[in-house]
């Protein structure tokens, strides 16, 4: 499709107590605009990915809120899809350019979580599930723990294999200056961390984070060689609660969104060298690698444990070079946009120490809730 990501920027992710959402947004949007080699008045619309501003910050009307604070006053929209809000906002921005209505638009993913008490943040995040799940006392880790147990029961997946996802992603995060966690983990450390929802330990879980990321989407990039082409942008949804799904060893929405994306892009899973996938919990990355068609069902955990997706030694492809949600942090509305930023950096060959050699195709995979929404993007560099 004739759509490009021309500019990208992200803030560091973490506990950013001295920075407001407005400052985060101003920082990334202005840097993304400069990166695209354009001016602020070239931006024709703003798409904001955010989940919790209403429940935590008592601020809604985010389209106008940010277009005003950015000094743009353009058509502006908040797009919400739980932890997939950022990916969904990018999807809507891409459609708006494809429609011909706009030539150049901005996607801003932003979330401020650490200003609030952890129990308030957990309660707000539980808004992504169903009433029945909330009344059962389920937490987000618990829903993924339910999925993890099925996977372990059916395929013999081990807690050590789950832990190896966190170990790999912290290793990648240690090379990312914007990551929340730069400390290395070991499988033992993960298994010794406190139990949150059996079999998931604390270090199987992504953190609560602040952060913002922005990308500029355009049909007419000013620096074609610098711009990364969007080959596919697809969305799928599934039941809000996991109980009503016919199968609990997969996220069906991921499978459907991926299938559509590969068809749009005209490529196969094996063609992709670098992926940012939604590892909100370690089991989620294992499910993602299978549902995206990278590995057969039941085979991903072993491949990850053997280092086949880790940026050192003998890898087949690299997954979550940014550190993923686990290592880089997970400001929910920003995550889907940050994934695009990372893949663009990889395809431009500007990812520094995290650079995956010779990557031509990259994929992002963003999930809302326990899999009720999935967004997949496929990007490509035209550089030879």
């Amino acid at each position: 499709m004739n759509v490009y990501i021309a500019g990208v920027a992200t803030t560091p992710f973490g506990e950013l107590w001295d920075v407001s959402p407005r400052s985060l947004a101003n920082d990334v949007v202005n840097r993304a605009i400069r990166d695209a080699g354009i001016e602020k008045n070239n931006i024709e619309a703003l798409f904001v990915g955010n989940m919790l501003s209403g429940m935590l910050g008592r601020q809604e009307h985010l389209g106008a809120f940010f277009s005003d604070s950015l000094g743009m006053h353009v058509p502006a929209f908040k797009v919400e899809g739980a932890c997939a809000s950022g990916g969904l906002a990018a999807h809507m921005a891409i459609l708006s350019v494809l429609s011909g209505q706009y030539t150049t638009v901005c996607v801003l993913g932003v979330e401020k979580m650490t200003d609030h008490k952890p129990e308030d943040v957990s309660a707000a995040l539980a808004g992504a599930g169903s009433d029945e799940e909330r009344m059962s006392g389920a937490t987000f880790p618990a829903l993924y723990a339910l999925l993890a147990r099925v996977h372990m029961h059916r395929f013999g997946t081990t807690q050590e294999q789950l832990a190896s996802v966190a170990v790999k992603n912290h290793f990648h995060a240690s090379m990312n200056p914007n990551a929340q966690f730069k400390n290395l983990l070991t499988v033992e450390k993960v298994l010794q961390s406190s139990m949150v929802a059996d079999p998931l330990h604390l270090l199987d879980c992504s953190p609560i984070s602040d952060g913002a990321s922005a990308v500029i989407i355009t049909s007419k990039p000013s620096h074609p060689i610098h711009a990364i082409q969007v080959l596919a942008s697809s969305v799928a949804t599934d039941t809000l609660d996991i109980a009503r799904r016919s199968s609990l060893d997969e996220l069906r929405a991921t499978r459907i969104a991926a299938k559509k994306a590969y068809t749009q892009a005209g490529i196969l899973p094996k063609d992709i060298q670098v992926l940012e996938v939604h590892d909100c919990f370690t089991i989620a990355e294992i499910l993602a690698m299978e549902d995206l068609g990278i590995y057969e069902k039941g085979k991903a955990a072993k491949a990850i444990e053997e280092g086949k997706t880790r940026l050192d030694g003998d890898f087949d492809r690299v997954v979550n070079s940014s550190g993923g949600l686990k290592g880089c942090g997970h400001p929910v509305g920003a995550t889907g946009v940050k994934q695009l930023v990372e893949i663009v950096e990889q395809l431009r060959r500007s990812a520094g120490k995290r650079q995956v050699p010779n990557a031509r195709y990259g994929l992002t995979h963003n999930v809302g809730g326990s899999g009720a929404t999935a967004v997949v993007h496929i990007l490509c560099t035209n550089r030879q």
Binding site: S122, M135, A138, T139, L146, A197
Partner: protein, 100 residues
């Protein structure tokens, strides 16, 4: 957490439909870090249960022991207080499941 009394009342239709239904545990987890309103129950297990009537539900498991907390365990739906009462005094009753 605030519980709308209207929602608690409306939910009673679902409770009546489910009470006494039997089924089997599809998957379960033990929650060690509970959400607001559930601290006094923790740690507690929840399960996805496939009921014999074709419905599947997520519910807390009560009166369990090490041998009854497993995939495939038969359970029955019972009425219980599901969370701590909110400040407006509404006691939220709902369904949990008990091993048979």
């Amino acid at each position: 957490m605030h519980q709308s009394p209207v929602k608690v009342w409306r939910n009673q239709k679902r409770i009546r439909r489910l009470l006494g239904q039997e089924g089997a545990i599809v998957t379960w987890t033990m929650i060690h870090v509970p959400p607001q309103g559930f601290s006094s129950f923790a740690p507690y297990p929840i399960a996805v249960v496939a009921l014999d009537n074709g419905e599947t539900i997520t519910a807390q498991v009560v009166d369990h022991n090490e041998t009854t907390l497993r995939i495939g365990q038969r359970v029955v739906v019972v009425l219980r207080r599901v969370m701590e009462p909110s400040s407006d005094g509404v006691i939220p009753y709902g369904v949990k499941v008990k091993p048979l």
